[in-house]
């Protein structure tokens, strides 16, 4: 009941005080239905119309104290991120996000207000993109867990896989690099008493509410992208995935990545780390990494950051050298 303090003396209603039907009645009406959804929430399943091409489906789970902390992120922040990280996976296939479903597990003392706030975060992430939240399940459990499955449609283009990069292709990214990781590091510092200047608070916002370039995925597919993925575990680690799946090597350019690092300079000084470590190793901005034929004009959202080479030596190199930063995170181990 530690959350009570946030409510200025008022004891918040907890989820244990409502039954499932009552909680759904407060939660479901806040969610958008999306387009081409003949049946929304409230039946055994929702019905979706995919009449423009193949469907894509992906799932990701957020677990309290592993992927977020309630004292750092509001319910709406968690709902936003749960939606966005899945919509980014849809975009990374070259598809248009259409719908998602949500399973929410809650400890009995979770304030109902937090759950309502989560619904609002889901809606804020989805509604502007005409994405519907078309189903869900609620359950009690030991801590908060939000599992989202997102659906999208390919709208007539072929899916862009991780495996299509060819030597000579351009390597490019859309969206931000390292901002979420910087924001996370700043939150840890703030937690230990460091007062953050206002000038770096945008990075904390980038951690709480990443804004993946959702439209860039379709644009990349239309521009002939040969491979693409969602940058969720850091540039080096995710570039390594493309390299291995495609049987190529990826050469990044520190010069081309320079502008990405520059924006993190002040925060890096506060945190006492090299800003390029965040650019190369920081995950969860959920930008897109894509490869394009050498002759292709890149879509507006993409910046060139390197090139695809033959698969010799390290899967990913920077200026021809193996990377030396500590890369990415593994949520699972430890």
């Amino acid at each position: 009941m530690a959350q009570g303090a946030a409510y200025a003396g008022r004891v918040p209603l907890t989820v244990a005080e409502l039954d499932e039907t009552e909680l759904i009645a407060r939660f479901a009406p806040r969610l958008p239905r999306g387009v081409r959804t003949p049946v929304g929430t409230g039946d055994d399943a929702a019905v979706l119309r995919f009449d423009r091409g193949d469907a894509v489906v992906t799932t990701d789970v957020l677990v309290e104290d592993h992927h977020f902390r309630r004292r750092w992120s509001s319910g709406a922040d968690v709902g936003w991120r749960a939606a966005m990280q899945n919509l980014a996976d849809v975009a990374a296939m070259g598809a248009v996000p259409r719908s998602l479903v949500v399973s929410l597990v809650m400890p009995p003392d979770l304030p109902v207000d937090w759950v309502i706030d989560l619904a609002d975060g889901l809606a804020q992430a989805c509604a502007p993109h005409e994405v519907g939240v078309v189903g869900g399940d609620l359950s009690a459990g030991p801590s908060v867990m939000v599992s989202v499955t997102a659906l999208g449609e390919l709208d007539g283009v072929a899916p862009v896989l991780r495996s299509g990069a060819r030597a000579g292709d351009q390597v490019a990214c859309a969206g931000t690099l390292g901002r979420a990781a910087a924001g996370f590091a700043l939150l840890e510092l703030a937690d230990s008493g460091v007062v953050l200047p206002d000038s770096v608070k945008g990075l904390v916002g980038a951690f709480r509410r990443p804004t993946p370039p959702l439209g860039a995925g379709v644009d990349a597919a239309r521009s002939g992208a040969t491979a693409m993925l969602d940058l969720s575990d850091g540039l080096l680690r995710d570039a390594g995935r493309v390299a291995r799946a495609s049987g190529v090597g990826i050469e990044l350019s520190s010069r081309l990545l320079g502008p990405e690092a520059e924006a993190l300079q002040e925060a890096a000084e506060i945190a006492g780390i090299a800003e390029m470590d965040w650019v190369l190793g920081g995950g969860e901005d959920h930008g897109l990494l894509a490869t394009f034929p050498a002759s292709a004009a890149l879509p507006a959202e993409f910046r060139r950051i390197g090139r695809v080479r033959d698969a010799v030596g390290h899967a990913v190199t920077i200026d021809g050298e193996p990377p030396s930063v500590r890369v990415g995170w593994d949520h699972f181990s430890g």
Copy 2:
């Protein structure tokens, strides 16, 4: 590490000893891909081809110590049930189950063997129905949680909703009633030292591995079912949902339900309860409840158990009287 005892002295490998990639490498190859799946697991999303009609989507979560106990159900049992309860929701729309995705949250001390066993249970439930397991996410967390999202396709028929029942319709069910609840009660008795006769062990199996009549959903849709749902919370409670969604009353017949109760008689004597309580209140067999026009011939799997009447008095009655059993369960409250 209490699970260690089951391994006869061998210390089982736990999930904390593998990283996510290693665990996925052991888990994913055990899963069926399904049909019409141009892209399976291993990319940002799977790609599915829905060229026969609208898609349906539903999600359900199982939480350790809320929906299952590890000492009562093997990993394969949990995987089986997580799949089946979702496939039943797809069937209850009149759709053909096609694919599912799985989010799995695991405590660090969970044996890897348990996770592999869960994959096998998912495969055993899905493969015979040509259902693919096309994606997933793994994460650490405080206890086991399995969130499944299932997709199906309507194959040219209109979805059968909860809201279409009309006064005069026949009420019918497919699949078993009360067997899972009886099995659960027997497991509780066995846990407190009661030795169960072999003759009732089939009910324990029905709790561990429910076998919903998945094909009956499509058959019902083709036979003109006016309303349908998956019986997950008990006949009375789920019939009440149809009644409220359709604006009708549902009259059940104790004579027509008699044969359902008879199969539970021995177990009911052991447990000291009235077998009809399980038939009316027991959930999780995941049978189907459907209504059909009075003139319709019922599909082979369905038995008539009552009729739809006008919405006067109680939503659901038995032989004209309000039901007196304690109905259903609410996993959420308490």
